[in-house]
Symmetry: C2
Subunit: 444 residues, 2 copies
């Protein structure tokens, strides 16, 4: 029974708790047992306190049915760069060890208002930046990374410890861990969900991301967060017959490992078999600059973002953060502004390209999750993600494929900005087809 | 003596406290006396606690000289939408009455690291939005507004209660109060100073602003915050002979009251007399859309920003905030994205226009500060400011002129993005000339 409760989706949990068939406290206890059994291996949690969870659970159980929200009792993991009133926020930084600003980030406030059970703080890299990984391991192979910087969120959802989790993405920090852990994730349109109450790395890029094990759960979250398209798609399922997908290799295609090249072909094959049209999309040459421009933006925005921490505690910062705070690369204002302006010009261009297709498809990762090596514990390569982050388009990781080591590999579905609902509808149909790829998320 | 200490600039205070000629505690006591004497009239402070101030002052006095920062002991007022670890942050919202998240915003952390004495929290409108003003009155005529939303910051600096204060600007919330209170203010290039730890209204517009009574003090702050141009200007003073100013009326010129039209002519006259060239600049017609685009952005970004507060406490929100949270105006995603994209295109265009001049000049306000009328306590018209905010250019309010009621009226000096140092150098020369305008800031 306890195992079964951990397998429930958010939609299923809310149905049971809202009607009173399941007590939030009982549900919470099942999840706590799961976390306690698995955390010594997975290390998903930076802060986990059963007492705090059970107190919240009992308060939710005490709510009369008519006051129960659409997420009533649903456990949500929160990346540890997002403030939570009842738990510390430590940013994986020695500066903020045990730090506990009594503040709910706007996104946490929204979730709580809808009845969510904030379950704990999930591991991140320092300030959601840095190459150095936290202790988190991949639940499907603990010798490998769970990705980063939303390491703990991806792992906790992939390991059936919580059905939902919050991440953030500045480069590829939501989508990459989703692929590595074999789960769904949505990186919405930039700023569609408030980033108030989060550590800042790059204002232009930072985006709150959402993890789940089903598309229905992402749909529920999108509804809660008002991620509504101007023209919502039909409520009937999308038929792949007649759909058209644009496969975008992008200028970083050379980073794709053989496993990704292999699934690239399979994905096309599966979609074609299902009646869809597929074609390779070559983006205009100017998009080749995206990696450099994204880097310029991160470095100069990090220059102001990390200024306070650098002035107050330079000796406690990771060298990666310091590199930003002192502008080690000597990025100029001119380079920064050109990067911002040129990318801004390309946002409507890529919207227009994407709108010609049912969705665009691009790799979520360069391959299977890398083997963890001390002391860096590298969290993987974000090359395929960062362009879409700074272009502000919504991206969903669709799991389904399996690499040569039996580990998950996802593909990214992309729509024009503020087409989340459309993208979710497409995701249902695509996910069904990609399921033939051999990856099946199973409770370890 | 006590009166004299209140008149000191930040540069002067730091010189005395760093060398040990002035104890921070004594300085703080003089300012506390000033605040206690004046606050019953001006109402600049949302939170003011002499005990907290004196505790910090004594800690600063205990620092050995070699550890004293460039702002050692300088009193800084902090707008009450910016988190401070040792004081509540109440956002002028009943939801956050007495709320105290125990967190320093990044900008506060930077200031503290440089030795600043955080002096209290200054009044704002609710969440730095809303038309409804806080209790703050104009120190030069308490029947009038001190402006908004950085009401208390502008008033406290203009009333010699503190030499420096932090504000924010989303429309005209830093520059307008500067004009109304007869002080200097810099709204820097967007995101040049971190906005981490601030309430969010519009990510695209919100900018931390700086108040002072001298340009030297703004220079000091710019140095601290790394507001460095790619090509710093010569350290010699700018000669107005040979300088060239672009007077930009913009599409909202019809909002200018006779007093502003009058000083517009005088400003040109004074600059010409000093040997400068002046010309009217007509912006391309497309800039006429800026008011509508700015509104679209604020409304749709407010839609996500205020979502959490709306879900959790709708009955405690000002109707102005609710209007955003429910998208009352039914702004579409398409309108929002078009506004973002079109403005982004114009940023390099306006940079290029501004770079043809020593600086651009535009009104800071539509006229003298309006008379306060209950219950709205309207904080004035931001029409002349909002375009520059969303275009991300640095703006300095230069006081100097006096309206028919003897109240200050400032003009805005504007430079291309990330030309703060250049703009400050120009401000010195312009301020000297504008001083003929009849306004002199005096301690009441």
């Amino acid at each position: 029974m306890s195992q079964d409760l951990c397998k429930l989706s958010a939609v299923e949990v809310a149905k049971l708790t809202r009607s009173g068939q399941l007590k939030v406290e009982d549900y919470a206890k099942a999840l706590i047992a799961r976390v306690e059994g698995r955390d010594p291996v997975v290390h998903a949690w930076a802060y986990f306190n059963p007492e705090v969870i059970l107190k919240s659970a009992r308060a939710l159980d005490a709510l009369p049915k008519e006051k129960r929200g659409p997420l009533h009792g649903v456990a949500v993991g929160v990346k540890d760069v997002i403030y939570t009133k009842d738990m510390p926020t430590q940013q994986y930084s020695p500066i903020y060890k045990d730090d506990h600003p009594q503040l709910d980030a706007a996104v946490v406030l929204s979730l709580r208002s809808m009845g969510a059970l904030i379950f704990g703080k999930t591991h991140t890299t320092e300030f959601a930046t840095c190459q150095k990984g936290p202790p988190t391991c991949n639940p499907h192979d603990p010798s490998r990374t769970a990705g980063g910087s939303s390491s703990g969120s991806g792992a906790a959802v992939g390991d059936f410890q919580v059905p939902l989790a919050l991440g953030t993405q500045t480069g590829g920090s939501t989508i990459r861990p989703a692929s590595y852990n074999g789960v769904y994730a949505l990186k919405p349109t930039w700023n569609a969900i408030s980033r108030e109450g989060l550590k800042v790395y790059s204002l232009t890029c930072d985006t709150v991301g959402l993890y789940s094990r089903s598309i229905e759960d992402l749909e529920l979250l999108c509804e809660i967060f008002n991620l509504v398209d101007d023209n919502p798609p039909p409520s009937t399922p999308l038929s792949l017959a007649g759909a058209k997908f644009g496969f975008v290799k992008t200028h970083v295609w050379s980073k794709a490992e053989p496993s990704v090249i292999d699934i690239w072909g399979k994905a096309k094959e599966f979609l074609t078999e299902a009646g869809a049209e597929v074609e390779e999309v070559e983006l205009p040459k100017v998009f080749d600059n995206m990696t450099t421009w994204h880097r310029n933006i991160l470095h100069m925005e990090g220059y102001s973002s990390f200024h306070g921490d650098y002035l107050s505690s330079p000796e406690q910062l990771d060298p990666w953060v310091i590199k930003h705070a002192v502008n080690e690369g000597k990025t100029t204002r001119k380079e920064h502004l050109e990067s911002l302006d040129e990318i801004a010009k390309l946002r409507p261009v890529v919207d227009s390209i994407a709108s010609k297709y049912t969705a665009l498809i691009t790799p979520s990762v360069t391959g299977e999750p890398p083997i963890l090596e001390e002391p860096l514990r590298f969290t993987g390569d974000a090359s395929f993600n960062l362009m879409w982050t700074v272009l502000h388009l919504p991206v969903i990781n669709i799991p389904g494929f399996k690499g040569p080591n039996g580990l998950p590999i996802g593909l990214s579905l992309i729509a024009p900005r503020y087409h989340e609902q459309d993208l979710l509808r497409t995701s249902h149909a695509v996910a069904e087809t990609f399921a033939k790829g051999g990856w099946k998320l199973q409770q370890g």
